[in-house]
């Protein structure tokens, strides 16, 4: 057991008399730009597509291939220190001409800053971006969910599989705009597919290999599972 931890304060890199206040009167566009934009433009020429400030939040659009190095720099650089990954998500617009955007929300706790990074993926290519799991462990489940809902592959993720829907879910990727609200199959078909899943009786390969549990099963069950049958009640 460790001893007591030293308190880490948000805003520790700022002067002590800089208490934040509730923002008022934020303009739609324009306003103060996050200093990361200028610093990124200097350190990674050619990686930045565009910078926008919408409702007081800076959005930096980065070339998808350069995301990982940009993120690593944002995490490590002593003037940026974006140590908190808030969210990774994706946006697909109703306008088919616009690309699918993958959005990262970063916070720098020492500097009390918020930054949004986007990567625009054209629709006619497979959707994939680098995973930032190697930098922030919180990306683990968040990227799995983004994959589950949009079908975006996160290259370098240790275990990219569905998390909210069941792993053999066949209807597609629910948050895509071409996926209808009530699903592609009829209600009885959806229910039938769900009921034959029997997820409790099904363990993943990882889980079954853990405890060598296959040995402990009764003989007839071993035979039936070996032949691919799903166990019933």
């Amino acid at each position: 057991m460790t001893g007591k931890f030293e308190t880490v304060s948000a805003g520790s890199a700022l002067p002590a008399n800089d208490a934040p206040v509730t923002p008022h009167g934020i303009p739609h566009r324009g306003g103060a730009v996050n200093p990361a934009a200028a610093a990124l433009g200097a350190s990674f020429p050619g990686a930045i597509v565009r910078t926008e400030v919408v409702w007081g939040e800076t959005t930096i659009i980065v070339v998808p291939g350069r995301i990982l190095e940009v993120m690593q720099w944002l995490h490590d650089d002593p003037d940026q220190r974006y140590d908190f990954l808030s969210d990774v998500t994706a946006v697909e617009y109703r306008d088919l001409d616009r690309p699918v955007e993958v959005v990262w929300h970063l916070r720098s706790l020492p500097f009390r800053r918020f930054l949004r990074i986007k990567a625009q993926l054209p629709r006619n290519a497979p959707l994939q971006v680098p995973s930032v799991w190697s930098i922030w462990k919180s990306a683990d489940w968040i990227e799995r969910e983004c994959y589950d809902m949009f079908g975006i592959r996160f290259v370098g993720h240790p275990d990219l599989r569905r998390i909210l829907m069941w792993e053999q879910y066949k209807e597609g990727y629910p948050l895509r705009k071409d996926f209808p609200l009530r699903g592609r199959f009829s209600r009885s078909e959806q229910l039938r597919q769900a009921l034959v899943q029997n997820p409790e009786a099904k363990y993943s390969m990882e889980e079954l290999s853990i405890a060598d549990a296959f040995e402990d099963l009764p003989e007839d069950m071993r035979r039936r599972i070996g032949s691919g049958e799903r166990t019933g009640e």
Binding site: V8, A10, T22, H28, R29, W55, F114, S138, E207, F214
Partner: protein
Amino acid sequence: MASGTRTIEVELSTTGLDAHGKPQRRPLVTNDGGSAFEIGAPDSMEPELSGDHMLINIGPQHPATHGVLRLVLELDGETVVRCIPHIGYLHCGFEKIGEYRQYNQIIPWTDREDYLNSIGNNVAFALGAERLFGIEITERCIVLRVIAAELSRIISHLVWLGTTCIDIGAFTPFLWAFQERENVYNLLESWVGARLTTSATRVGGMAADIPAGWMDGLRQFIRTFPVTVDEIDRMLTRNAIWVGRTIGLGVMSPEEAINWGLSGPMLRASGVAYDVRKDFPYLEYETYDFDVPIGTNGDVYDRFLVRMEELRQSVRILQQAADRLPEGPVNIDDPRIILPPKSKATSEMESMIHHFKQVMEGPRPPAGEAYVAVESPKGEKGYYMVSDGTSKPVRWRIRPPSFVNLAAIPKMVEGHLLSDVIAINASIDIVMGEIDR
């Protein structure tokens, strides 16, 4: 019904037996076309078999998992070697539905996703939508929303307290906590008409102003609630059983906690002083005088202490808010966004047109995007909304604090006993509605 036979070629995930006589399984997933492809097995899947390890499945239906969470544990005797959580058993398509509803119509959905913090979620969503619309709300609305958010924090922490006590074995605080919740439910019901699913805010204001005499009820609650907190405190905080069952469990260091994206009491118990109300303020929280409790050990006991102290601090904020509530209108004065009163909508033509447009089409924000984060009882709760200028959002994303907090559970329970898993799980304060959405 067609007759005759068809041959269908299907990719099997078992490809016979390997050298040891065990079935060889390949993990397969299907793409949208329905064809299966194999995903490479990660290196971490190599089994480490040191002795006989047991595979235990907890959930998804289980009293102590706080909802439909499934934990698969690899046990070496009673000690957990590995934990694999499975979620998604309460996935109800909130974010998809958000794309098919107007902004005011989404508010009932925010009630139901983190259902312990309903009115707090209403406030958070309204703040996000107002950022997207570019609206400044009235002074009275700001203070009422602070009152709502803090009441919500109190009732959420009381549920956490009651259910954690039951999990660890103490039944009585559950009854005390739920009795106090009934007092808050009475207040909420007299304000907005519902106990749990309040739908109390609207874009630009609130669904209703507080009724006459409501503030007396709130002051009565402020007076009597700390007595119950003290009672629970006396029973638990220095209780040998409670301390023995919670000290030293599930420790996360500050750096790990930040890297794993923990927020809220989980993060603060690990010694990180980050509270969205203090660091990225909203609703003029910087003008209130309150403390944020920070732990130092990062274990279950510290999380308990942090939440107990947050209950007291919430009462402090409520007292200040009750004292400063200004008179004035609750809703902004924009007929394109706030519904006109029914008396005008049925008598004046212009109001009737406004009413019609708002109900049938809904108010339209300019194209843009906004991410507003609040300090929910569970952590940093954010709503990210993207608008293309129409009355329904293009994307409504909920940043769920419990989802990110729960992802750290495999790290926290390694090396602990089975009964500790339940205590650690309880200390995260998860709500499956928010995790699975």
